[in-house]
């Protein structure tokens, strides 16, 4: 219950942190949680709650909850992406639908309970990251602990004899480790070295970047906006609230904040696979735009494609859909042109782009006219049934059902332009038949004439402005960088202890510690009087996630031996029974 419990961020990469020997502990500053329990007052309870919230276990549970809470967001239709489907779902499930709606299950990612989970999680994270960053700052200035009495007993350890005098041997070891960038602490006859603080830095960086990412998302939600518009070939629009079919501003966005650009659509081109099993699949979409960044600015051209949005002063214009807008000229019963325009039809979703739409003619006299129509890009008659065989307009045709009466536009609730309210109208007795460009139908009883004059294409555009986009990207890059650092860097400590040859009375032969087998290979240790020194070199790694400390230790051993003048292979056997107190004891003098 010491350092591990304080941490939502506790080191997912610390392997078996509990088993790590004391040598890896950073000293008293990590032992704070071990304070004796005080009687609980209100502050005590608050502190207890805070500790619970910032504990690893709570963070883990919150992470789980976050994952589980996301699931309905992918299984149920969501208002943010498909409000029509949500209404359908509620209609189809009269009992469950309204209940789910009340519980925000159709707006999962904006639901209060979802926000509660991630805000708690991020609070837990912040409550853990900040103290840890502080501790890292402190420990980064601290020196490594003193060497244990017998470094060779560490998980990685070796011992050998050198011809150098002890001070020379120690100086050589110090020089070697210092040259490798280790932080050093020296004492009488020993030197400790430590490296790898970057690992914890990377870990903290990763978690701080996640907090920054959340902040960037919030920034975009408050100061950004999103708008949709349907634009027919030949038309244009200005970036104003009034122009849009849908407009979703952030909380702090005023209508005057919109970038003052104007866009015109000259042409839209779609191409499709002509043959083979994928016949009819789209292969490219391109829209030729002209735009002005300011009303008085120069006119520029842009070839808008999927994946290639137009960027105007930070606002981005995306091509997100396309369809057909058949053109009609409708002459009413009085002989006047009541309508002459292209009417956008919506794709029904089949692969051949069959589209449906309605034409409303409120200006028609003596009665208003309305039509429900189907547009077939490539008309084929198959068994008396009209259908489209290909999404490109190779053989375009429309088929209309005609109504006359009152469109109901002057009273009642607002209507969709894609739906005809037929309650005030009567169907005219004329059978639907395919019309090809240039062809007309005469409505019965002299109600008028409808001419299908041709078609245009329309595109749907999405305009978004998200000032949080770049901060979010930077946070994401920092996060992945921090993650890599925390996985790749290992924190490790090395210890060298040097004694005059023959002086170590307490370290001959024997089994050594767990894992044993320190090759008591028969070479007599100790007992050889005279010059030279006995060197013990040991090390351990705290978080060797990616592996490789063994190789590093082997290389360092070799380098150290070389620095010690290619020491004799002979070495005193490693010491007797493990001496736990030795692990942290100061050098005895």
């Amino acid at each position: 219950m010491t350092s591990a419990r304080t941490s939502g961020v506790t080191d997912p990469v610390t392997e078996d942190g509990e088993d790590a020997p004391d040598l890896l502990k950073d000293g008293p500053q990590e032992e704070m949680a071990g304070q004796p329990a005080k009687p609980f007052g209100i502050m005590g309870w608050l502190r207890w709650c805070w500790r619970q919230l910032t504990s690893m276990r709570t963070a883990l549970v919150l992470l789980f909850l976050l994952a589980v809470a996301s699931v309905p967001g992918s299984m149920l239709p969501q208002n943010g992406t498909d409000p029509v489907k949500v209404q359908q779902y509620i209609g189809q499930h009269p009992l469950l639908g309204p209940l789910l709606n009340r519980l925000s299950f159709f707006d999962v990612f904006a639901a209060p309970w979802f926000a509660a989970i991630y805000l708690l999680l991020f609070t837990s994270l912040a409550g853990c990251v900040l103290p840890r960053a502080f501790r890292l700052a402190v420990s980064a200035q601290a020196k490594p602990p003193a060497a244990p009495r017998h470094p060779a007993r560490l998980p990685f350890g070796t011992a050998y004899r050198t011809a150098l005098d002890p001070p020379e041997a120690l100086a050589a070891a110090t020089g070697l480790l210092s040259g490798k960038g280790f932080r050093l602490r020296a004492g009488g006859g020993w030197v400790s070295a430590e490296k790898g603080y970057l690992r914890e830095t990377g870990n903290l960086l990763f978690h701080i970047a996640l907090l920054a990412l959340l902040a960037a998302i919030g920034l975009g939600a408050v100061f950004g906006y999103k708008a949709d518009i349907l634009l027919t070939e030949g038309d244009g629009f200005a970036n104003t609230v009034a122009a849009y079919d849908q407009y979703h501003p952030g909380r702090a966005v005023a209508p005057g904040d919109l970038q003052p650009f104007t866009v015109w659509l000259d042409r839209f081109d779609a191409s499709y696979v002509q043959s083979g099993p994928l016949r009819g699949e789209p292969s490219s979409f391109a829209a030729s735009l002209r735009y002005q960044a300011q009303p008085s600015g120069p006119m520029r051209r842009y070839d808008l494609q999927v994946n290639h949005p137009l960027n105007v002063d930070g606002a981005k214009v995306y091509l997100i859909g396309h369809g057909y807008a058949p053109q009609f000229r409708i002459i009413d019963g009085h002989g006047h042109v009541a309508l002459q325009q292209a009417v956008p039809f919506l794709p029904t979703g089949d692969t051949a782009d069959t589209s449906e739409g309605v034409i409303k003619v409120p200006d028609a006299q003596p009665e208003q006219l309305g039509f429900i129509g189907v547009f077939l890009p490539t008309e084929v008659a198959f068994g008396g049934q009209l259908s489209s065989a290909f999404p490109a307009a190779l053989h375009p045709a429309v088929s209309l059902v005609s109504y006359a009466g009152n469109l109901g536009l002057d009273a009642g609730p607002p209507q969709s332009v894609y739906q005809l309210q037929t309650s005030g109208m009567r169907r005219l007795p004329i059978a639907p038949q395919p019309l090809f460009p240039g062809q007309s139908i005469k409505l019965p009883n002299g109600a008028g004439t409808v001419t299908f004059t041709g078609y245009r294409q329309w595109i749907s555009l999405q305009v978004t402005y998200d000032p949080g986009r770049v901060p979010a990207l930077i946070s994401a890059i920092v996060a992945i960088f921090g993650l890599l650092v925390s996985f790749l860097v290992r924190r490790r400590r090395l210890f060298v202890r040097v004694r005059p040859a023959g002086a170590s009375a307490d370290g001959v032969a024997g089994d050594g510690v767990a894992g044993g087998g320190v090759a008591g290979d028969g070479v007599a240790g100790g007992g050889v009087a005279g010059g030279g020194a006995e060197v013990e070199f040991g090390g351990l790694a705290r978080s060797d996630v990616a592996g490789g400390f063994e190789e590093e230790f082997a290389a360092l051993t070799e380098a150290l031996r070389a620095a010690h003048g290619g020491a004799q292979p002979a070495a005193p056997g490693p010491p007797v029974a493990p001496d736990e107190s030795a692990m942290t004891s100061e050098d005895r003098k």
Partner: protein, 357 residues
């Protein structure tokens, strides 16, 4: 440009051939488990290569984790030959053991299985490349191509683990899902070569989908290892309770070795998965006007990411290590697979690229 039909047919045939070769490799790996040399008692680490996974965490752990050490103890106190470099018989690190392992040749079954796997990988890679040449594009545009590439990634990761950790024992358990996946490709998922839909016309497909494929391949091997771990762990518990270990279990490495290998594999895959999500977000920003929109695919990628993060944290939390963490990892892998298959086939969203209906 029209599809090069000859090339497309070549690709189809090569991938079928790959399934056949992998199946043979699978049989050879099974043969190794059935008839190969046994790992028994103290001699185990001499006969069968152990994982040279020694590291910091081996602190105080069972000696067997460190490779050859117990063998030397069991063979009359003879020191193992000193490794070059580390020198001296006292280096307790794994480097010496890894070197010692190299003196032990792999069995005939293993060598045959690995040779078959390598040949299969070659035809697999060529099959994918010819598919790309046939359609004049990077060959990850639909489910068929994803699964083909993911299985290729899994085999590649397995061979890397064999080279690095001598993890032959994974062979059968990796090959079974690979063969099943490729078999599914040849039957249910098959889609003829063709151009990409316009939404995929971006160089980000090379970045985002490649990262997703590689990380899925890595996670697949990790999940396989974890399933083995769960079996080994249960077997160890039974042995401790006095029940004899099952036949196959005696040929598998210890539970802890499997656990560590699975963990390292996840650690390798997690940053790549994170990168895949970020690259996907950048692409989504280019294509759809927002970098994150809770599209079902995005949602499940997020769920998967959170679940793997849970695993990494669980493994560092007392009381969650071992079996529980392993289950968390399998749940995370389940999310990943659901995202690959379930979301593509049953949930409508912007990522509807399965290419089958």
């Amino acid at each position: 440009m029209p599809v090069n039909l000859g090339m497309a047919r070549l690709s189809d045939h090569l991938l079928l051939l790959t399934v056949v070769i992998y199946s043979l490799a699978m049989l050879a790996f099974a043969g190794e488990l059935a008839y190969g040399r046994r790992r028994t008692g103290a001699a185990a680490s001499q006969q069968e290569p152990e994982l040279a996974l020694a590291g910091s965490a081996a602190v105080g752990g069972p000696a067997a984790l460190r490779g050859g050490q117990p063998a030397s103890a069991g063979s009359g106190g003879q020191a193992p030959p000193p490794a070059q470099g580390a020198g001296g018989g006292q280096s307790r690190g794994g480097a010496a053991d890894a070197a010692a392992d190299q003196a032990v040749p792999a069995g005939l079954w293993v060598r045959a299985a690995l040779a078959l796997t390598a040949v299969g990988l070659a035809t697999h890679v060529v099959g994918i490349v010819t598919r790309g040449l046939a359609a004049h594009r990077i060959p990850w545009g639909n489910m068929y191509e994803f699964v083909t590439a993911i299985t290729c990634g899994a085999v590649l990761v397995f061979l890397v683990l064999v080279l690095r950790y001598r993890a032959y024992f994974l062979g059968l358990f990796v090959m079974v899902p690979v063969v099943l996946g490729l078999g599914l490709c040849a039957t249910v998922l098959y889609t003829a070569a063709g151009p990409l839909m316009p939404a995929l016309h971006s160089y980000w497909i090379a970045i985002h989908v490649t990262a997703a494929i590689i990380s899925t391949g890595i996670f697949m091997v990790a999940a396989t290892t974890t399933v083995m771990y769960l079996f080994a762990e249960r077997s160890a518990a039974r042995v401790a309770a006095g029940v004899a270990a099952g036949g196959i279990m005696r040929r598998l490495p210890e539970a802890q070795v499997l656990d560590r290998l699975a963990y390292r594999t996840v650690v390798f895959g997690f940053p790549i998965w994170t990168f895949a999500i970020i690259a996907g977000a950048i692409w989504a920003d280019q294509a759809w006007g927002r970098y994150w929109g809770w599209d079902p695919k995005e949602t499940w990628a997020f769920i998967t990411w959170v679940a793997y993060a849970c695993f990494l944290h669980a493994r560092a939390t007392a009381g969650w290590r071992g079996r529980k963490a392993a289950v968390v990892q399998l749940v995370a892998f389940g999310c990943l697979i659901f995202n690959l298959i379930g979301v593509n086939l049953w949930v409508t969203g912007l990522h509807s690229y399965a290419g089958i209906s």
